[in-house]
Amino acid sequence: MKLIQRISLIILLFALFSCQKENITKSGMANDRFFLESDGQKMPIFVAGNLDSDKMILIIHGGPGGNSIVYRDDYVIENVEKEFAVVYWDQRYAGGSQGSSSIKDISAYRNDIKKLIYLLRSLYGQNKQIYFFAHSWGGFLAPYFLIESDNQEMVDGWIQIGGAHNFYLNDSLTQQMLMFYGRQEILADRNVKTWEKIVAFCDTANYVHIKNAFKLNEYAHQAEGLMPDVVSPEYTFKELFDWYFSNDVPLIAMYINGFASGIFKVYEPAYITEISKYLNRIEIPTILLWGKYDFVCPPGLMDDIKENIGSEDVSEYIFENSGHSPMMNQPQMFWQVVIDWIKTH
């Protein structure tokens, strides 16, 4: 029995030591990992970079069901984190988030963001300026948060990159863009069979119906790869391997969360959540960054924000050789624009 007791003790100690309190960096370069528990989900947060700048870039990643660490490549580590602290937060049911809770209402995401900002200021100081870096699905969550009551007072700037703030408009713009470029590419005799299939779908499908959204989204991603002007990101196996091990990526969780977000249609309430007409409430400095060939969230969405937003400080930038993720298509140019904008705001 002694042997069993000793082994049990070792396992128990092992479990307890694994949840000991970690230190939070107060100045200099942060490299802090911790979790936020909210509504039954434990969401991982990784803060990396220069805290002395007093500026934090909060990544609100794409998906739903994506992850934040995918934005952390060598360029970001060497150039962006050197300037500012970057907050990599995996949303609920996304990335390395875990928990036995069931899928909650979309408002849970808004509460999570609010709690996260409270937490960041509590840990790092009330003087920290926080900038939303909202991409794709994150580009829905950011304005969804900002238009509610006085939430925007918690945020110092909004960087919107290929964001999906209006799902119906998004789908109609994607459909139009696929048809426009599809016909152009067929005339140019490039990838004709694939384009014909895409154009045929867009020509006949009742694209504004939610049931077509998945297919439309799939074609939009496919179309981006067909455009000759888009610079495709290339990663070697070694780079992916290093990225995996240096960031403690929980791969199974990532895939399960992504799958769960898809089959439980976490995005569905976004179709009935009106954002465009409340954009006039947003008065914080904003920059809109879009890839010219973003079929997933077309540049027309940028125009909708410009027309409706209440802020008088709105900048925009189109990346000529990018699709849905200009931070990956043209990283150097993209991040320079972001760094310069944050420095001046």
Partner: protein, 200 residues
């Protein structure tokens, strides 16, 4: 942790037990087991008790030889844990219903359905924030999950041909934790372990 597990495993080889399990009067007996567990790249350990509740000797005649093997049924109760950096430590209490075919020369094969209960401990300080923005640390943050799974194992029973009541096994399993974000969380594991019988 790895060091402790290796020491525990090696210690089994050093034990010269009085009890013996001989092939000519073989019958399965209760044993304790310990194993090193790897959940993909996450290391862990497991201890347990295997209790035989039924066995049958089978004789087959093949090429003028009599081949004997044993069909055995066990209930196995175990407590295991693995640690995944940046994610969680998972404590798992499992019950297995094992169907084993033991050959007289020592090799055995078994398969087991598994049920259990899991408690995870988040690998990192976990904070909660109330509606007013008050931050607090959550002690022992983690979740309870049910476990369902299946495993097979290939092993060698040293007691069939010597007086060492030791078995060695390699055991891949597929466990699923549930509910995990309304879904299941699959957890493939592989164990390398030893079991030891205290009595005949």
């Amino acid at each position: 942790m790895k060091k402790y597990i290796i020491v525990i495993l090696l210690s089994f080889f050093m034990i010269n037990a009085d009890a013996s399990v001989l092939a000519n009067d073989y019958q399965p007996v209760t044993a304790i087991r310990a194993s090193y567990v790897s959940a993909l790249l996450s290391p862990g350990g497991k201890i347990g008790l295997e209790y035989p509740y039924k066995y049958r000797e089978i004789e087959k005649y093949k090429r003028d030889k009599t081949i004997i093997h044993y069909k055995e049924r066990y209930i196995v109760i175990s407590l295991g844990s693995y640690y995944q950096q940046g994610f969680h430590t998972n404590l798992m209490l499992q019950a297995e219903w094992t169907f084993r075919k033991q050959r007289s020369r020592g090799m055995y094969f078994d398969y087991s359905p598994v049920i259990g209960l899991s408690r995870t401990f988040i690998d990192g300080t976990t904070y909660s924030v109330d509606d007013s923005g008050n931050v607090s640390v959550v002690k022992y943050a983690g979740d309870y999950y049910g476990i369902l799974g299946a495993s097979i194992s290939l092993g060698y029973n040293f007691g069939m041909r010597s007086n060492r009541p030791i078995k060695m096994f390699l055991k891949p399993s597929l466990l699923v934790l549930f509910p995990y974000s309304n879904m299941i969380y699959p957890r493939p594991t592989i164990e390398l372990g030893l079991s030891y019988s205290f009595k005949k």
